[in-house]
Each structure stands twice: as C-alpha cells, then as structure tokens.
Symmetry: C2
Subunit: 234 residues, 2 copies
C-alpha cells in the first residue's frame, strides 16, 4: 500500500502531517506551483537516445507546468542528465513503459483509457499544423527519436499527426526544440482559454504529497524520528 | 569589391548567370525559401559557450525563416557543430562581433543604426512577458550565455527586457529552448499579422547570390570553366 491508495480525507491528513516537517517557505512554494500545474497535455517521449535531449524536454515540461510525462523505451535507455534537467524530473510524474511486448501501444492504450487523444509529431508529414490543433480535448503529444522519428507502432496507433510549419533549408527541428515550441504554444493557448486545465483534487493531493516527500531531507527525517522517540518516552 | 557592392541591376544579372550553373530544382528551392525569409527579428547570441547550444539556435533560425543572426563573442569562441546545426549556418547571414573593445555595444550600435529595438532576455527579471512584446517594430532579441545570462554591457545597453512566463521549480529554460520558444512565438505572430516582414529587394538579391554561390559544387565550377575555355577557343 502506498499513499496513493489512501482515501482523499486520509491524503489530506497525511499531507498536513508532512507540512509539519518541511519549512513554511517550502510549503508556500509547493502550493504556489501546484495551482499552475496541468495534465491537460501529456508529452510522450519515445525512444530518445541522447540523454541531453531527454533531460532538456523534462526541464521544459517543469518550466511550462506540465506535470505528467510518459517515457517509452523500446530501444534506447532513457537516462536523465542532471546538469541539463536541473533536477526537473524530481518534480514531474514520469511513467515509464519499458517492460511490455509493445511499449508504445501499451502507453497509448493507457492514455486513451484516461481520456486522451493522441497526436504524433511528424516533421515530414502534411497533416495538421501546430496552430490548428483543437485544444479542448485532453491530448498526448508524441515526440520520437532523434534519428528515426516516431516508431511504426506510434504511426499505426496515433489519432492524428501534426507538424510545426517550417521556412528553411533544414527540414527538422532538434527534438528538444520541437518539444519546446509545441508544448509552449499549446500551454500558452490553454492558459489563455476558459478550458479547465488544473489538476483534479485527488491528483493535486497525490502530487503535493510526492513533492513534500521529495522535499524532506535526511536531516529532517532524523530530527523527526528523534522527536517521535522523545515523545514516546514521555 | 564583392557582389554586395554591385548596383541592383548588376546583381540581377549576376544572379541570373549563377542560375545557369545551378540545377533548376535548386533554383526553385532557393526562390521558394527566400520568399519566406525575414529580418524583422534578429537573434543576437552573446557569449554562448556550448557548441551544441549555438548550433541548435542556428538550426532553429533557419527552420523559422530568420535570415540574420548576430554573434557576440566576448569570452567564448563560437563554434558550430555541424551534426546539430545540420549545415543551417551555410544559409544564414551570420555577423560576428569579436574584434572590438566592447563587442556587445558595437553590435547594439549597428542594430540601432539599422532601425532595430533591442530586447534582452532575462529569466529572473520582472519585465515584459514574451506575449506582450510589440511586434510592429523591427526587433533584435539578445540571448545570453548558459551560465551567466546576458552580460552587464547588454543589460546597460538594451532598450528593454523580456521573460517567458514559467510555472515550475526550475527557474530557467535551456538556452536553445528559450531561443526556440521566443523566436517561434514572435515569428508565428508576425506571419499572421499585416506587418510587411519580407526581405527588401536588395537583401533578397544579396541572399540569393550568396545561396547560389554556396550551391555551386567544385564539379560545377570546373564544368563551367571548361565550357568557357571551349567557347573562347572558337
């Protein structure tokens, strides 16, 4: 059993207890950031092989307030470089798909069961432009590997395809650039719309608990444990 | 004397002669791309020290149709990595400032004399948001180094400062991501506006000649020279 299995009232109590351990300043910061988080858009990173690219995408997600990221690892082991992600991965919910027979399909199935439409990015395809994406529906956006683009499984299983209009000789953006442009454009449009994009009460609590736990240093933990011993000795 | 010193009619003739050497397909491609190029916005890259970041910015500029880039090298030698820029630098007009006493100031002075307003990117500053930039005026946007941000000279000499709104724990975007988001946002807005953003006739010809010269392979040059010899032997 983890805290995610608690009922909502117990989650509230648990978070409240955790707030006794972390500093007030930290709590203030967590609660400021949580109000800005969204899972209306979920980036899916498929088979990225350069750690610096994967890390840059995670840092971008944190900066843009995107809480959920799915990572599909069919071929390439996803390794995060801390000096590029600047620890952003600590604050995101990253779900990995690397143990299934068809990781991409399993990831897409999960997303669909959660109500997401799936759009794959295809730089050479003539499908819809980034600017024409309908943002009213919850949407997952798939970014493929640096060399091969998105996989055949992704092409076969996506709902539609999008591209960023290009005006040059170079025919594709760098993967971290492509993700940044796409995710910034969509989240900016979302934040200016009337679409409810904030996290649900339950997701909000789960995330706050996760963040509070991440914020507790070993020193805090030892201090708390010693305090508990003192109290129980009374 | 270079082709840039020719009068406009001679430039037209020179370009026409060059078109006899390059393939028709290449000419078609050059003329398709030139119509999409703009110098309404000019990115200024100041003291970038990681080659992969500088190269990614150049690749982004080409993809977005930004023809002019200024590179200020006060401390760091600007080196372009071909596997990241994908040769984008070949198609851009890159002006370097690395020999003056104050390279940043000299670059800004040049830009002002060409009618540009200068906006510096400052992730920690509370100045205008990207979304609030007035795009009617020709504008240069300054991106600073990965570690120190923009220089004191840039801060002292910029007209104003901008930031991309952020919603996370990480307090800054990667430099190539920051440039991509900013330049995509501004060029997208520009292309949807009524502002005349295309290159002037003279700049258009200069660029076409530059591109045509870049397109001529050694094989083409030898073939042309041999043809000239045959003709003169008649």
């Amino acid at each position: 059993m983890t805290y995610k299995d608690l009922d909502i009232e117990s989650k509230r109590k648990y978070y409240s207890l955790l707030c006794d351990i972390i500093t007030q300043e930290r709590r203030f910061n967590l609660e400021k950031v949580i109000d800005l988080r969204t899972e209306h858009f979920v980036p899916v990173i498929e088979n990225i092989h350069k750690a610096q690219n994967a890390s840059a995408v995670l840092r971008t997600c944190d900066c843009l307030g995107l809480q959920e990221v799915r990572v599909v690892e069919n071929n390439n082991k996803f390794a995060v470089t801390d000096d590029i992600s600047l620890g952003a991965n600590k604050w995101l919910n990253i779900k990995k798909y690397n143990t299934f027979e068809n990781n991409t399909k399993r990831c897409f199935d999960d997303l669909r069961s959660e109500g997401y439409k799936i759009i794959a990015t295809m730089p050479h395809d003539n499908d819809i432009n980034l600017q024409d994406i309908d943002i009213t529906q919850k949407t997952a956006i798939v970014f493929g590997s640096e060399v091969d683009g998105i996989s055949k499984e992704a092409i076969d299983n996506a709902d539609c395809f999008m591209k960023i209009p290009m005006y040059g000789f170079t025919e594709s953006f760098n993967i971290s650039v492509s993700a940044a442009i796409t995710l910034h454009y969509l989240t900016d449009k979302l934040r200016q719309s009337n679409i409810p994009w904030q996290l649900s009460e339950e997701k909000r609590l789960n995330t706050l608990i996760h963040w509070a736990l991440e914020s507790i240093t070993t020193k805090d933990k030892i201090a708390k444990e010693l305090l508990n011993r003192v109290i129980s000795m009374k």
